[in-house]
């Protein structure tokens, strides 16, 4: 009998009106790559506004995050790539206007095992030779990559094909988004890739800089040479000043314009992201904080409520300040 009563009570409870929450809430969702930044910001912002403003962060992924965002379910969504045309269409259909803001820079590091003593640097062309779709089943030995490399099998590790990381890497290296050879070890869990490369003398892999920095004792980063330039090693500094290219990418927030305008706490949170002292939070979770010029430009875009995206598609080696100053399209 007790059970029946409880069941009835739960049913009754489910009809209680929603959104009766008294405390203001900022709803953030989106990319798992951006998640650590969102989490750190949410934690500090929550502490600074205890009892007044709450921030919740979901982990739907870039694509899943946009789906929710464009239905108006979230205030801000994180993305590891610019919004796609079909996602933009969805937002338009639902009348969701957004402001595109960079939150941090991430570098993709190309890594080999510390026992690998033959690679001192690689050019983008050499990487392309390894990763392009035509290489499948053909480029299987290190000595095919460059004259003088030893006769050793080439074992490749990379991000799973559903991730923004994979999309960016293929755009930057192969030249075409979402196109690469298929015969490499792919995992959505970067820690699996770390272990894979660390335990295989003949391996080469790529993943976010944070995973390399946390595992420097097990891995060696390969300096990358682009367009005939000097090879550059991935570090927070070289990523921060845009020297490590084409594998440095900005991470984005897309803020719902209506939320920013109507909810004071959302605007407050958005501004909080670009305070200089909060750059340390970005650094702490393994990404590269935005420089002063980027922060100023982003704050201006936010203040002017500039709606739309600066991108026509994925681009590599972008200057973030320049993208912020571009004419946006929506």
């Amino acid at each position: 009998m007790k059970k029946h009563l409880m069941f009835g009570a739960v049913l009754a409870g489910s009809f209680v009106a929603q959104n009766a929450v008294a405390v203001d809430t900022v709803q953030v969702d989106g990319s798992s790559t951006v998640f650590p930044v969102s989490e750190a910001m949410a934690e500090e912002f929550g502490n600074a506004n205890r009892g007044e403003i709450r921030v919740t962060v979901g982990l739907s992924g870039t694509g899943g995050g946009f789906k929710k965002f464009c239905r108006g379910e979230t205030d801000i969504t994180g993305a590891s790539r610019p919004i796609r045309p079909e996602e933009l269409e969805l937002c338009k259909e639902n009348g969701i206007e957004f402001i595109e803001l960079p939150v941090a820079m991430d570098a993709l590091s190309v890594v080999v095992s510390p026992q690998n003593d033959w690679v001192d640097h690689l050019t983008v062309e050499e990487l392309q030779k390894m990763w392009e779709p035509e290489a499948q089943g053909v480029i299987t030995n290190w000595n095919q990559v460059r004259e003088g490399f030893p006769d050793r099998p080439l074992n490749l590790f990379g991000a799973g094909t559903d991730s923004g990381t994979y999309d960016y890497f293929t755009t930057a290296i192969v030249g075409e988004e979402h196109s690469s050879r298929g015969d490499f070890t792919a995992s959505e869990d970067d820690n699996v890739l770390v272990m894979g490369v660390a335990n295989d003398h003949n391996a080469l892999g790529f993943f976010g800089l944070a995973y390399f920095l946390e595992n420097q004792d097990k891995l060696k980063a390969v300096p990358i040479s682009w367009k005939g330039g000097e090879p550059v090693e991935p570090t927070k500094e070289t990523a921060g000043d845009g020297e490590y290219q084409p594998l440095t990418r900005p991470l984005y927030y897309y803020a719902n314009k209506a939320s920013v305008e109507e909810k004071e706490h959302v605007e407050k949170f958005a501004e909080f992201l670009f305070q200089e002292e909060n750059g340390d939070l970005v650094s702490e979770v393994g990404y590269v904080p935005l420089g002063e010029r980027v922060r100023e430009a982003a704050l201006r875009v936010l203040a002017d409520r500039e709606v739309g995206t600066a991108y026509q598609g994925s681009e590599v080696g972008v200057d973030v300040v320049e993208t912020l100053e571009r004419e946006k399209h929506y």
Binding site: H4, G13, A20, A42, E43, G58, G286
Partner: protein, 309 residues
């Protein structure tokens, strides 16, 4: 057909036959012990490995009372374990009565016709549907069509759907195992069908029914996929509103509409982080989740023991 004595005369060696059979017994028994040993050691090794790795966090009382954090050594599971308990509560309150009632109806009341057959086959099949499918169903129906949001209630509903078939099937099994004589004796005493059920069948089948319910709930507690699909949060630094308050009307169901996170999601988030210390936190969360599951099973054993007495 020869008789035994004829067989003995014709020279069949029964002594060696029986020795052979006995040695087969020994082989099978030792094989069984080896397999059991492998299974148990793997489990114990996994658990111990998690416990040892997670020990630094497990022994820290703050781990249980603080919210998640970007600093692995400050990160706690407060919102996760509270979320898990609330979701499980909703799941139990919805799935257990519905599942038992459905099982009773199908076994005792439903007429034997094609419709019942179709339902039976479907219920059994539903028990094998991957959990992500339930997640997608809930996303489409509860979250998007009904607009219920990503709440504790929706998570409880999807997990209820997930374990309903398990509870229904085990309820039926439990009832089927009650000897028909019991039923006939009750009818013989003049009891009607409801009286027979309520006073004889259900009490006799209770241990089996409860075990089924707890097995279902134990499955639900570790489910990640459907809860991620409906959009559970990963970082949440507050608890849903308390169900009991000092003001009128004292009981609030606001918590049902609250955002939430659960233990497996929190663990999943930590495992994929670059900092090695997060692996410790994840291991500790894993131990807590296993202990929660074991506690539920222990509860089942206790209830069954009491029901048998």
């Amino acid at each position: 057909m020869k008789t035994l004595s004829e067989n003995i005369k014709s020279g069949i060696d029964y002594a060696s036959l029986s020795r052979k059979n006995r040695s087969r017994d020994i082989i099978f028994a030792s094989l069984g012990i080896i397999v059991l040993f492998i299974a148990i050691t793997t489990l114990v090794a996994l658990f111990l490995d998690l416990a040892v790795r997670g020990a630094p966090r497990l022994t820290d009382p703050d781990f249980y009372t603080s919210f998640p954090s970007r600093r692995p050594l400050d990160a706690g599971i407060l919102s996760a374990w509270v979320g898990t308990i609330m979701v499980m509560l909703v799941t139990a309150v919805i799935a257990v009565p519905l599942g038992i009632a459905a099982g009773l109806y199908l076994e005792e009341y439903a007429g034997k016709n094609w419709l019942t057959d179709v339902i039976e086959v479907n219920v059994s099949n539903l028990a094998g549907v991957p959990s992500i499918v339930y997640g997608l169903l809930a996303l489409g129906l509860f979250v998007q069509t009904f607009g219920m949001g990503e709440t504790v209630l929706v998570a409880g509903l999807v997990l209820s759907l997930l374990i309903l078939p398990i509870i229904i099937v085990s309820t039926r099994e439990a009832i089927r195992s009650i000897p028909n004589e019991l039923r006939e004796a009750a009818y013989g005493l003049g009891a009607n069908q409801w009286q027979t059920m309520a006073m004889y069948i259900i009490p006799a089948a209770k241990p089996g029914i409860i075990t089924g319910a707890i097995v279902g709930l134990s499955r639900a507690i570790g489910e990640t996929a459907p809860i991620i699909t409906i959009g559970a949060l990963s970082f949440i630094a507050f608890l849903p509103q308390s169900p009991v308050s000092g003001d009128f009307p004292f009981i609030s169901f606001e918590w049902l509409n609250s955002g939430f996170t659960v233990m497996p999601i929190q663990m999943f988030g930590w495992v994929s982080r670059p900092q090695a210390d997060f692996q410790i936190t994840a291991a500790a969360a894993g131990v807590v989740l296993i202990v929660m599951t074991l506690m539920m099973n222990a509860l089942a054993i206790y209830i069954r023991y009491r029901a048998r007495k």
